[in-house]
Symmetry: C2
Amino acid sequence: MFKSAEIGHRLSKEAYRDAVPGLRAALLDAQVSLFEKRKTPVVVLISGQDGAGKGETINMLYEWMDPRFISTLAFSEPSDEERERPPMWRYWRSLPPKGRLGIFAGSWYSDPIRERIQGDISVKELDARAEQINRFEQMLVAEGALVLKFWFHLSKDGQKQRLKALSSDPRTAWRVTQWNWDRLKTYDQLQEVAGHLLRVTNTAAAPWVVVEGTDDRYRCLAVGQVLLAAISQKMTETEPPRAAAAPMLRVDLDGRNVLTELDLSLTLADKPYKDALARWQGRLSELLRDERFKHRSLVCAFEGVDAAGKGGAIRRIAAAMDARQYQVTPVAAPTDEEKAQPHLWRFWRNLPRHGQVAVFDRTWYGRVLVERVEGFCTEPDWLRAYGEINDFEHELIDAGVVVVKFWLQISQEEQLKRFKAREQVAFKRFKITHEDWRNREKWHDYQQAICDMVERTSTGESPWTLVQANDKNFARVKILSTLCQRLEAALQEKSAPASAPDDPAGKKAAVQRKSAKRKT
Amino acid sequence: MFKSAEIGHRLSKEAYRDAVPGLRAALLDAQVSLFEKRKTPVVVLISGQDGAGKGETINMLYEWMDPRFISTLAFSEPSDEERERPPMWRYWRSLPPKGRLGIFAGSWYSDPIRERIQGDISVKELDARAEQINRFEQMLVAEGALVLKFWFHLSKDGQKQRLKALSSDPRTAWRVTQWNWDRLKTYDQLQEVAGHLLRVTNTAAAPWVVVEGTDDRYRCLAVGQVLLAAISQKMTETEPPRAAAAPMLRVDLDGRNVLTELDLSLTLADKPYKDALARWQGRLSELLRDERFKHRSLVCAFEGVDAAGKGGAIRRIAAAMDARQYQVTPVAAPTDEEKAQPHLWRFWRNLPRHGQVAVFDRTWYGRVLVERVEGFCTEPDWLRAYGEINDFEHELIDAGVVVVKFWLQISQEEQLKRFKAREQVAFKRFKITHEDWRNREKWHDYQQAICDMVERTSTGESPWTLVQANDKNFARVKILSTLCQRLEAALQEKSAPASAPDDPAGKKAAVQRKSAKRKT
């Protein structure tokens, strides 16, 4: 991987001086067209050995381009707000919007490399992390991003010389610390770990560019040219890249599915309802005040047929919680800041801190439900969304978040009854719109989408709870009791849940939760 | 202030039952029209004594209204991201957008009350804080917000009884801690401090509503009715409230002003420029790596005539900084999330953490420059903006942020020359648009607006630096050297700068900076 970056590439002053003005003009042009079209965010990872010129290169990019449309994101110790969310949260919230360039100095590669060198994770665990990273980057690219990953390489000798040169120049001496010299001792180890990780994350969607770091002029020009070529190519793309995706394969011989099998005649009389409601609300309230919940968080996802009673169910849950402990996020049309980001971004930004609850009224499943049925996204888009959603929930669960998902199902007749009733009651009239009537006509398309969704995203760690909601009493108690049981089970786990015994993210999350305990 | 809230108000079950359905329907209706018009954010402060029913009332509001359009914001210990910004930052970032209701459980009143009871601040300091709060709330109201401040009152006996009742009921016993009983001992003190603070913050724009807290039914219904009345009234308002503002009063007898007095013929030859540039860049780089800067931050504001060279100057500053240490925020049209907030919100959200630099390419002065001249806001809007801007900068400076503001001035002839030159150079062509030519026609309106701006916002703690920018060399060196001198002076201060020796916010900021030192 690093061989061609030990050749001793150098560029003369003259060659550099000849090349820069043209490159600079072209880069600015590219940046402007990028900004004007606002179709693509550019994610640039600058990584490599100490002293290989990461900072210098970033500064050079700023000199060449318009700094107003670049952000550099540096990641050192996570803040407490970051520690109380899944590890990827800090990167999600730093993603550049469409039209802008985000330079990541330090990235999702830093932790796995460091942990492997320190021996905290095995090679197998490193590979699992690489797999996660690959899926994340694939998602970014599928969502329209240009992802450029640079690794600046130095030979062992080269690194020693760079550090010496830096420390002998008074203008740069401050940048070399004992820590850097110590790192030199682990050179071979870094080479091995980084070499391995780079190889397994060198994907077609987001390949690595290894650049020899020794010569400033060579390195800067190389990065500038790659950046220019990549942006220019992206700008001329007429179609966004589409991952190959098989169409949905279904077996339907008898018309039976998870929805038709629901017994919608189930009911609960008022008296037992009131008792059960009070009991489960009390239990929920207890669980949320449990000492163990202080280092966990809860995400409740509500989906359902129109008028299935999501709002009423959410209010019954809310009644058991302290208003200071939860936020209800109604999911409607995205804001323009949200539209400039991958479709899951708006959910990442609303994730709860430790000890907090986030209730989503409609969710990240919008893409495989309404967006699919109404044609708001393309088929390849919603086909890949199942996997992206599973990854998203997996990251939450790995970080100790309790995720509970409900689908509320009512019959077509019951829906009609409720629509008509809503039109009669003054303060419910706003709940019924023209769009609701229109959606109703697509009942069967929606049922199909729901079945596919359950099929593909009801996983062992994050199952769907299908709720028979023709009877509100029955539905509310089922939701509350399920919620309590899931929460209770999660709090009884010794450590963070992990998909496999050696799952690195899970292990890390457990460590994170431990270290995040407040020292107050 | 509290007399009418010790009368012993009670509401019978029947009266309550009769009133609620109508209130509930009306509240929902009001909420829907609020959301549909998206003109007004509703800021509801719920405060008062322990055990006076704050939590119960909030929960009741959630039961009555649609929880999807309400957020409850609770404030306890600030996070590290909050500690490294001015004290008001956490409230700014929690403000509800237009169309939504934000309930503040704990607010900008909590700290002053606590600090006064603990004896950390004097009555005079408390009054200074009240004055700040009044201006903040006035700004919110002027920006279209509905601000409702509730204080739940209990007589001393009433509080004892409420606490007893809560702790004897197993469902609520958990909510009463030793801390609450201890607080009972300070009842008289709280009454005195809160009474005073409420009185001085009981403004026409944002008056207090004191509600007797003893009886749940009475308290909830009272809050519901006030909320309904206030929203309904706000919805029927045809004109937003306008604070009385005198038009600009100017003396102009001889055509001379701060801009005409600038000697635009000042130049710096290339050789001394290169030396000076290197020297000041080196100095800036040192200052930003200074140990003392780790607990401060820097905000650089750039304004200027079109083509005055802001971008070039920013790049020369950027060259002296580590890209990981700063962000450049170009200020263009606000996003829709920004439009749903007070005009200063977009700047608050981009404030730097400790040890970081924020460079604004165009700034919060847009309101008194382009928005004023182009008529994007009304005259009362920009007239009140001067004071709001001064308050904003004062809050930054009080929290230890170093604020440096530059106005870059060139002559009309020089501007014309640069416009034409830009049209010739490929990679600068994007910088010159039709709008630039149009702005040029309003040269004199802009000059007037600039003079007014300097007149009203060049304060002792936050002066404008007017830069003679016809010669780029001269301008860049003046900017860099000014920046270094201001930063150096700030770092030499013993404690946080404060507008007065007994300034409470300044004192607090100093304490904050101290406590924010990382324990790593």
